[in-house]
């Protein structure tokens, strides 16, 4: 978030830059499956340690061929969406049968993030970009400093530590839609138990050659009746 920057006329000494994020979303997970890409993210946005907003859509379609998921500063994500909207608009205005695919959008985002990083004024997000064009599946990630890569499964934030190990073991080529969703839910459940900024309300989005579908928000079933939680103070009377 910028209050003033070097383009502000006259006052060069109070250039401010994004120092820390305020309203943040947590992990996004994306995987390739048989027909395209599946992406999952919860609908929470935290204000520091407060789970402030619980209906934030962090996965959005971009043009005809792509999906973007973001973690990090929500206002920066909204700014990115606005830029992408403009990009897609100009692309459509050519009206010539060509369209920007996921690879092009990913690269555009990389350039945007890296350029901001070079000005020491980053867009405080980790982005997952997935899509299908002409039968080619594409899944990539861009971080707030412009690090970018493609893979069969990607995750942001805590997802990198909790979800990717599961995906490394259990992801395989040609997952069906049902298996893909089960796999994502397994990862999201672990995140829900272990990431304190996760909320139990998520959306899973799918993109195939035919188009984008974003599911309605729903919750995962959790189980808290583990023995260790039954009588937590059994071994230490008086504590809580």
């Amino acid at each position: 978030m910028k209050l003033l920057d070097s383009t502000d006329s006259g006052n060069n000494s109070s250039i401010e830059r994004t120092q820390y994020p305020y309203v943040t979303g947590t992990s996004v997970i994306g995987i390739k499956y048989k027909d395209g890409i599946l992406m999952a993210a919860d609908m929470g946005a935290s204000y520091g340690s407060t789970l402030r907003y619980k209906s934030v859509e962090r996965v959005k379609p971009v043009g005809k061929h792509s999906l973007i998921g973001a973690s990090g500063e929500i206002s920066d994500f909204q700014e990115i969406l606005r830029s992408l909207d403009e990009l897609i608009l100009y692309d459509n205005m050519w009206d010539d049968g060509n369209s920007l695919g996921p690879k092009e959008v990913h690269n555009y985002l990389t350039r945007m993030m890296y350029n901001r990083r070079n000005k020491f004024d980053p867009l405080w997000n980790s982005l997952v970009l997935g899509g299908v064009k002409n039968g080619q599946k594409y899944l990539g990630m861009v971080s707030m400093i412009g690090v970018h890569f493609e893979d069969n499964h990607v995750a942001t934030g805590f997802g990198n530590h909790l979800a990717r190990p599961i995906l490394r073991d259990e992801w395989h080529e040609n997952l069906t839609f049902e298996d893909g969703v089960k796999l994502l839910e397994k990862c999201m459940r672990v995140l829900l138990y272990r990431d304190r900024s996760a909320v139990n309300k998520l959306q899973i989005a799918k993109i195939t050659e035919e188009g984008v579908t974003v599911s309605q928000p729903y919750s995962l079933k959790t189980f808290w009746n583990f023995n260790a939680f039954q009588n937590p103070t059994a071994g230490a009377e008086g504590s809580w």
Binding site: W94, D96, G97, N98, E104, Y108
Partner: protein, 276 residues
């Protein structure tokens, strides 16, 4: 065309609704040495006649690579052509940088056309005096476009520009229906034959022509002299006697939209060439 009181600057319309300066620019294209292009589903071939001013000098470069998937052949003011090729290269590389993808040919062509149009509507500018045959490959297939100093552009199956291009066009008109399915070698053969048509009896050798190809799995590149000479000999194209012995078919301008434009505006003709 004759001089008249409406032809001094490009921002003056004639009473008949013509911009004479633009038409004069198109005349400059007709004075340049011939360039032809043809395309199939998977390949596009550009070829041009390269005549040096004198035996002492080198040939003028008329074919430019803009990117791995786009090339251009020019006819007319070569200096203008060089500047526009530099613009094309710049646009291609900027797009690749931002999107990690090749610039769709159709978009480059529109950008070129818009650039040309600007010069037809500013009193302190003049139209570019060069016609461009843009050959390129993108997701939607192989394309050949012609960009005109007027700012118009058209897509073609095959086209020829420059001096004595009508002879090449006549040859191409007879055969263009087969081009879509042609192999790369057939396209090259037809290109060389078409070039020979413009030479009006002179012997075709690789020292007076340049050929370039772009295709699926084949980046745009200019064939070296040795390869071209080998092709000429393989196809037995050299032909010293006047090849005008081949019956010239009647002009079919309808099959190549805008082909008539290039030959339009003989003295006193009413329709302005760029009005298609």
């Amino acid at each position: 065309m004759f001089r008249n009181q409406y032809d001094t600057d490009v921002t003056t319309w004639s009473p008949a609704g013509r911009l004479f300066q633009v038409e004069y620019a198109m005349e400059a294209v007709k004075q340049g040495s011939a360039a032809i292009g043809l395309r199939s589903k998977s390949h596009v071939v550009l070829a041009c006649v390269n005549k040096a001013n004198s035996e002492l000098s080198s040939h003028q470069k008329k074919i430019f690579k803009a990117d791995d998937h786009i090339g251009v052949a020019i006819a007319g003011l070569t200096a203008d052509g060089r500047v526009l090729s530099r613009y094309m290269r710049s646009e291609c590389i900027n797009y690749s940088y931002s999107y990690e993808s090749p610039l769709p040919v159709g978009r480059l062509v529109v950008q070129l056309a818009d650039k040309a149009q600007v010069c037809t509507q500013r009193s302190w500018k003049r139209p570019y005096g060069v016609g461009l045959l843009v050959a390129g490959l993108d997701e939607s297939g192989a394309h050949l476009y012609y960009n005109c100093p007027s700012g118009n552009y058209f897509e073609y199956q095959a086209f020829a520009i420059g001096s004595r291009s009508q002879a090449a066009k006549t040859y191409l008109e007879r055969r263009f229906e087969n081009f879509m399915g042609s192999s790369r070698d057939d396209l090259l053969k037809d290109a060389l034959f078409a070039i020979r048509e413009t030479l009006q009896g002179e012997k075709l050798t690789s020292s007076i022509c340049t050929v370039a190809v772009v295709g699926v799995g084949e980046a745009f590149h200019i064939l070296d002299q040795g390869t071209v000479q080998a092709l000429i000999e393989a196809f037995e194209i050299a032909g010293e006697e006047a090849t005008a012995s081949e019956p010239t078919a009647a002009d079919q301008p309808a099959s190549e939209p805008g082909a008539a434009a290039d030959q339009g505006a003989p003295a006193g003709h009413d329709a302005a060439p760029m009005d298609i």
